[in-house]
Symmetry: C3
Subunit: 138 residues, 3 copies
Amino acid sequence: MVVTRRISFSTKGRCDLIDITREVAREVASSSVNAGTVTVFITGSTAGVSTIEFEGGLLGDFEAMWQRLVPANLPYQHDRAWGDGNGYSHVRASLLGGSLTIPFVDGRLLLGTWQQIIVADFDNRARSREIVLQIMGE
Amino acid sequence: MVVTRRISFSTKGRCDLIDITREVAREVASSSVNAGTVTVFITGSTAGVSTIEFEGGLLGDFEAMWQRLVPANLPYQHDRAWGDGNGYSHVRASLLGGSLTIPFVDGRLLLGTWQQIIVADFDNRARSREIVLQIMGE
Amino acid sequence: MVVTRRISFSTKGRCDLIDITREVAREVASSSVNAGTVTVFITGSTAGVSTIEFEGGLLGDFEAMWQRLVPANLPYQHDRAWGDGNGYSHVRASLLGGSLTIPFVDGRLLLGTWQQIIVADFDNRARSREIVLQIMGE
């Protein structure tokens, strides 16, 4: 059985980290699929998905890591060619990855207590985003 | 068909890298699912999963990379707020990712010869860990 | 329903980035699975998969990031033990990850317009590569 759901929301960009755990859990619970996996996939090339303990200090630490590893203020060839100024956003997204697959049983996600699902929007401006949830199982 | 299995083990933390290939292969082979995917998912927010050639030199190189990119001895906001001292563990886990999906055919994982499945436990202390295997297919 | 397909190609190694979007889309469209997920999995331990806007500037930026984070010219324990000279290739591959799961509906991948699927071959020599596509759904 395959059920496709979408979640839409607005972001502020610039490493905006959005907790979508509740929305994913709700779509899985209401899908009538009892056990299987939900693939969380971000459409677009300047955002990624992962899990984190969604706590203010860690969100700051995660953003600080991105600023160290893929700084916004380096010169990027993408920006020279296209003038978007978001070369760093693309590079961060490609490193983090755009898909995450989470198992569930009895309609409940098998996440840890302190493990939330996040979208990281690395773009350099506010965006409307759409996440695809592919719920599969029996 | 969906089969859920769990693997439990102890780790030493501090970038302990554990080869779970044999256990995953055994659960897939004994699942009576012939072809499909196994999603390897780590419950918790201070460990991740990936693949590596499980060889002592590389394990050291992988750990050295983490110490360069997300050092244990930087100040982390998480540690200031909660005193756990494992802010770096969380950040590493979020970057590496907590899910991995591996195809199999005829009950055998389609891994390369030198490609093992690992759990990287980044926490700053010994832990009991549980991995969920969601085996799906026909 | 489970359909297994393989894509073979040659690479130049040394962070060769190959766009496989068209091949993946074609295999999904011809699989007779209407809706589900395709898991893109790289066999081997010196290459990874991700998505990127496949544009020359960004490909250069992505490669520059790898050279900053996991430089080819550091000393690696793997190279000392085995003399392959590709310790950095393994470490990059383990960080990027070897699997990617993409949803599709009506036989079409739910990718963004500027979001292509890539294989990153980090090895230090030309290689023949094989990608496994596990197409699952109904």
